[in-house]
Point group: C2
Chain length 249, copies 2
C-alpha cells in the first residue's frame, strides 16, 4: 500500500480487513456486514465490526447491542455481542441514539481514524468495515488510511443503483483497493401466501453490469423479513448464501 497508511495500535493484531461498500444507501451494506461477521464468528474466527457510517449508524440495532462504549482519551473499548463479535459505532458513544451527529468532513474522518487507531480491538482474524453511502470524506479517508484486503460491493437489481455502485467500484480501483465482487441483495421476495417469486426492482442487467465492470457475483440474498432481527439469529436462514459469498474472502 502507499505511504499514508496509518499504523494500527501496537496492542492490536488484525489479520484481515474487509470493507463492505456500495455508494448507494439502503441497499443492505449494514445487513450484509453483520451477516458476514456472524458467519465468520460461527466458524470460530475472532471478528470485529467498525461502523464507519458516523451520521447514520445502524450496526448496533442490527446486532442488538445497547450498552454504551467506554473509553479514555486514548483508548476506546469496543462493545461485544452475546456471541463475542466486537463492535464500535458512533451510536454507542452518544447518550441518545436519536440525536443527530451534525459534523462536517474533517471531524467525521478524524473519528473514523480513531476507530482504527484508538480502539483496543486486540486479536482479530477479520475486521469488517461497514462503509457509509457516498464517495466522500469517510470513504476517501478509509481507503487512504486503512490497509484493507478487499471490498465487497452490495447492490440491488436496478439500473440506477448499479450506476451508483459503479461509481464506488471505479473509486476503489483509482485508490488501488481490491474489489472482491458484488453481492446482489433483495433480489426477489417469495410471497408468503402463494410462494410466487416477485422481483422488487425492475433491473435485469446485473449480468451485463458484472461483465462491464469485470467482476464476479459473490451471491444473491433474497428479501427476508428476519434480516432485521439478526440478533435473534435471523441470519441462520441465509447461512448457505453467506458461505458462498465468503468463498473468495
Amino acid at each position: 500500500k502507499d505511504q499514508c497508511m496509518i499504523e494500527n495500535n501496537p496492542m492490536n493484531n488484525i489479520k484481515h480487513v474487509i470493507g463492505v461498500m456500495s455508494g448507494k444507501g439502503g441497499v443492505g451494506k449494514s445487513s450484509v456486514s453483520v451477516l458476514i461477521a456472524k458467519n465468520l464468528k460461527s466458524k470460530g474466527f475472532n471478528v470485529g465490526i467498525l461502523d464507519a457510517d458516523i451520521s447514520g449508524p445502524s450496526i448496533p440495532r442490527l446486532l442488538g447491542v445497547k450498552e454504551k462504549i467506554k473509553g479514555t482519551k486514548d483508548i476506546i473499548f469496543p462493545a461485544e455481542t452475546k456471541d463475542g463479535i466486537k463492535v464500535v459505532s458512533l451510536n454507542l458513544l452518544i447518550e441518545d441514539e436519536m440525536q443527530p451527529v451534525i459534523w462536517r468532513g474533517p471531524i467525521l474522518s478524524g473519528t473514523v481514524k480513531q476507530f482504527w487507531t484508538n480502539v483496543l480491538w486486540e486479536e482479530l482474524d477479520y475486521l469488517i468495515i461497514d462503509m457509509p453511502p457516498g464517495t466522500t470524506d469517510v470513504a476517501i479517508t478509509v481507503m487512504q488510511s486503512v490497509p484493507m484486503n478487499g471490498l465487497v460491493m452490495v447492490s440491488v437489481p436496478q439500473d440506477m443503483v448499479s450506476m451508483i455502485v459503479g461509481k464506488s467500484i471505479n473509486m476503489a480501483r483509482k485508490m488501488n483497493i481490491n474489489v472482491l465482487g458484488v453481492v446482489e441483495n433483495m433480489s426477489y421476495l417469495s410471497c408468503p401466501e402463494c410462494g410466487k417469486k416477485v422481483n422488487l426492482f425492475n433491473g435485469n442487467n446485473t449480468k451485463q453490469f458484472l461483465e462491464d465492470m469485470k467482476l464476479t457475483l459473490l451471491g444473491e440474498i433474497p428479501m427476508v423479513q428476519a434480516i432485521s432481527h439478526l440478533e435473534e439469529d435471523g441470519y441462520i436462514k441465509n447461512k448457505e448464501i453467506i458461505d458462498q459469498i465468503l468463498n473468495p474472502i
Copy 2:
C-alpha cells in the same frame, strides 16, 4: 431566517423551496422528490429539482434526462424534462455517469451553493431539493444557506430506519427548519399473483414514532414497480397519494 442565508441570483424568482430528506439512504427520497415535482407540474406550477446528492445523483435517471448541462464560469443553465421540469444534478455536468466524484466536504458544499446561486432557474413556483443521506456537510450547508419553506421526511416502516430519520428531524429542528411531515414509502407490496398485501419491513411502530416526534403522516406509498420508470409516467398510479401528501405544502 438567520443572517447567513445566501441571496439567490437576482435573475431568479423562486417562490417556495421544499427539501426532501431522510438521513437514511435508499428509502425513496429521490423517487418522492420526482413524484412531488411531477404532480406540481401537472397542476400548472413551474417546478425545478436540485439534486443535492452530489456523489450519488439519481434524479436524471428517474426523470429520463440525458442531455448534459451547459454553463459558463458564472451561469449554469438547467436541463429540462419533456414536460418542462428544470433539473440540475452533478451527473449532468460530468461526461461519464459511472465516474465517481471523490470530493471532500468543502467542495461538495461549494457545489451545492452554486446550484442555488449560479443556476439560472428564472421563474419557479417550487424548487424541490433532493437531499443526500446523512446529517453532514451538504445537509448543514443547505440548511444554513438556502431559505427553505419546509422539509418532507421520507421513511420506511422499520425501527432502525425511523431511528435514523429521527436524527434528521432533530437536526432540522436545531437548525430552525420547518418539518412538514413524514411520507412512509414502500409500506407494502401487493402480490401480483394472489393480491396479498405483504409487509416488506417488520416495523409497526410508525404511529408511535409520529407521536413521539409530534409529526403527521403525509401519506403512504406502496411498493410499485413502475416507480423506477417515472419518466414513462410511472407516477400516474400514485397521483391520489401524492395529492394527499402535497396538501400541507
